[in-house]
């Protein structure tokens, strides 16, 4: 039956959940919660406008469209497909409550906090700042090989049928425990070869301890690298300092250049933490790409209680979004010309928009990813390692505590986040970072409400860019399809 056949004359048409946006002279809709993006044809736009303005009955709507010159068959087909696509509806409807996905999601990645020590003393670091939640007292400073090996065994076991798994090394400063990192990589490769799985590695470093010997090992094993750096000397040394207050820029710059020169087997990205004194997005981006040589730069605001001096605050966040927008339009220009642009925040969002992701959880923590502390305690992710929150077992004492994991997933599902139920950005956001929520609200299940406007603004911007690229250089989007 077609849409017009099933309707009673008095039932009113209504719009369902979607976000409208425009690019060039085209109109688009981003459907919620499916995450589908459609370009509206003329009749689609007319139907949506008329329903939005008048809330017409089916009879009134068909009459309006006939008056506009559309043919009956065309009207019938358009209404039918808009209704089945969940853009419009005639009569009342109750949104279906999202179901909690299957339990025992196979693990894909573990993050090993191979040390809780660091040779820098960055003011905003969540491992050492007043907002620190990990309790490292009584825990080893460096993860022993036996714990790393048990973690890798656990990952292989819990990964089910997955053909590939991923080990991320985190800290502290990971390279303070390089000998163990090296033995872990070799162990994981051997064990995964026996298990018939692929294994990939990545690590985050402050770059102070990079040597040619270390870099050659990382390149040989195709370890993806994220370098923490906040921009040029003045900006970087604002927060990223040694314990005596000395800035780290002059120490890391030659080492990063050596890294970029010698390591070509996997991606090397810069990760910038924005804080009260460091919010100059374009200046930072240009320095890191042009003068240092990074091909990819990602930005993230420091996680902090709003009372901290280095907390960004609303005004600064507005400035940052302006800076992001400036760079994002540059990304658009480069994409239209078929060129790679290194602003990874846009790239990552476009990738999610292209697939039409509709998240049940904001990230993989507790789902496909778990963190392991130096003593072998399993936790939600690296940010919660060795804290009282999100504990999920021990790698040598029974492995993953599935009961705790299931309980966490049940209580943190998007269906349980009532604040998010009317937000159009929930397919990509799903409530925000658990750690961010815990530091701000003392509760991992709270939505990160202080970022809502920012996240909607950012996703609207990326949708407009996505729409424009789809019109001007659609083949550029193919790069997001294969990964």
């Amino acid at each position: 039956m077609s849409a017009t056949e099933v309707l009673t004359p008095t039932a009113q048409y209504r719009l369902r959940e979607f976000h409208s946006f425009g690019a060039l002279d085209a109109r688009f809709v981003y459907l919620v919660p499916s995450g589908a993006i459609f370009a509206l044809n003329k009749i689609g736009g007319d139907i949506i406008d008329q329903i939005g303005q008048a809330g017409p009955t089916s009879e009134e709507l068909v009459e309006f469209l006939l008056h506009r010159g559309y043919q009956p068959g065309e009207i019938d087909a358009a209404l039918t497909e808009l209704e089945h696509s969940e853009v419009i509806i005639c009569g009342d409807f109750t949104p279906a409550k999202p179901e909690v996905p299957v339990k025992r999601f196979p693990l894909q990645r573990i993050v090993l906090n191979i040390t809780n020590q660091c040779n820098l003393a960055c003011t905003y670091c969540y491992e050492y700042s007043p907002d620190k939640i990990s309790k490292t007292e009584g825990k080893p400073k460096y993860m022993p090989a036996s714990i790393a090996e048990a973690s890798i065994n656990m990952l292989i076991k819990e990964s089910g049928d997955r053909p590939a798994i991923h080990v991320t090394f985190f800290g502290g400063e990971t390279l303070l425990n390089f000998p163990m990192l090296r033995s872990s990589v070799e162990y994981a490769k051997r064990k995964c070869s026996e298990a018939g799985k692929q294994v990939e590695f990545s690590l985050t470093t402050n770059a102070t301890l990079l040597t040619e010997h270390v870099v050659d090992f990382l390149a040989e094993h195709k370890v993806g690298i994220t370098v923490s750096i906040d921009g040029d000397r003045q900006l970087n040394d604002n927060m990223r300092v040694f314990s005596d207050g000395r800035g780290s820029y002059d120490v890391i710059l030659p080492r990063i250049k050596m890294l970029l020169e010698r390591h070509k087997t996997n991606s090397i990205g810069a990760r910038v933490t924005l804080s009260s004194g460091v919010h100059h997005v374009r200046r930072i981006y240009e320095h890191l790409t042009r003068e240092v040589g990074f091909a990819a730069v990602g930005f993230s605001p420091a996680t902090a209680n709003p009372n901290r001096l280095y907390s960004i605050g609303e005004v600064r966040m507005g400035n940052i979004l302006d800076g992001f927008e400036d760079l994002a339009w540059e990304y658009r220009d480069w994409a239209v010309a078929g060129r790679h642009h290194g602003f990874t925040n846009v790239n990552d969002t476009l990738k999610e928009l292209h697939s039409g992701i509709s998240k049940a959880y904001p990230c993989g923590a507790g789902l496909g990813l778990l963190g392991v502390g130096t003593a072998g305690d399993i936790n939600l992710c690296h940010r919660f390692v060795d804290s009282d929150v999100g504990q999920m077992g021990h790698v040598q004492k029974g492995g993953v505590n599935h009961q705790a994991r299931d309980q966490f997933l049940n209580t943190h599902h998007i269906g349980a986040r009532y604040d998010c139920h009317t937000c159009w950005a929930r397919p990509v956001c799903a409530g925000g970072c658990y750690h961010e929520a815990f530091v701000h609200y003392g509760n991992t299940s709270a939505a990160t409400l202080h970022y809502c406007d920012w996240i909607r603004g950012w996703n609207d911007l990326c949708l407009r860019i996505y729409g424009e690229i789809s019109l001007r250089n659609p083949s550029f989007l193919d790069r997001f399809t294969d990964n």
Partner: protein, 112 residues
């Protein structure tokens, strides 16, 4: 789709789901493209009058002459044809008809 065009991968999945529920049946047809008529491929069926056109919308490509119609209907066509069942019940009904153009009178009459 008439009202909108899918852009991302999820939209293509939505389009496929919507078409499966609300789209036209297109058996034995070739897509005419957006906004064009769907024409049947191959021969016509006597219970669908009005389809006596070929895939280009004309009549030049219809099954003709009649002898081609006869053999294509039970050998080359997957659709239930208006000819005897050559596989099971009447395997030899054209045995005496080596050339349909000349020997069509020798085709057996088969009664169901």
């Amino acid at each position: 789709m008439h009202s909108m065009k899918p852009i991302n991968r999820k939209a293509r999945k939505v389009e496929a789901a919507v078409t499966a529920v609300a789209g036209d049946v297109q058996a034995l047809q070739r897509r005419g493209g957006e906004g064009k008529i769907y024409y049947p491929m191959g021969c016509t069926l006597n219970f669908t009058p009005g389809w006596e056109v070929d895939i280009s919308g004309g009549t030049a490509g219809l099954c003709q002459p009649v002898e081609r119609d006869l053999f294509d209907c039970y050998l080359g066509c997957g659709w239930p044809a208006q000819v005897p069942d050559h596989l099971n019940n009447a395997p030899d009904w054209t045995d005496k008809c080596a050339s349909a153009a000349n020997d069509w009178r020798k085709v057996d009459l088969v009664f169901p």
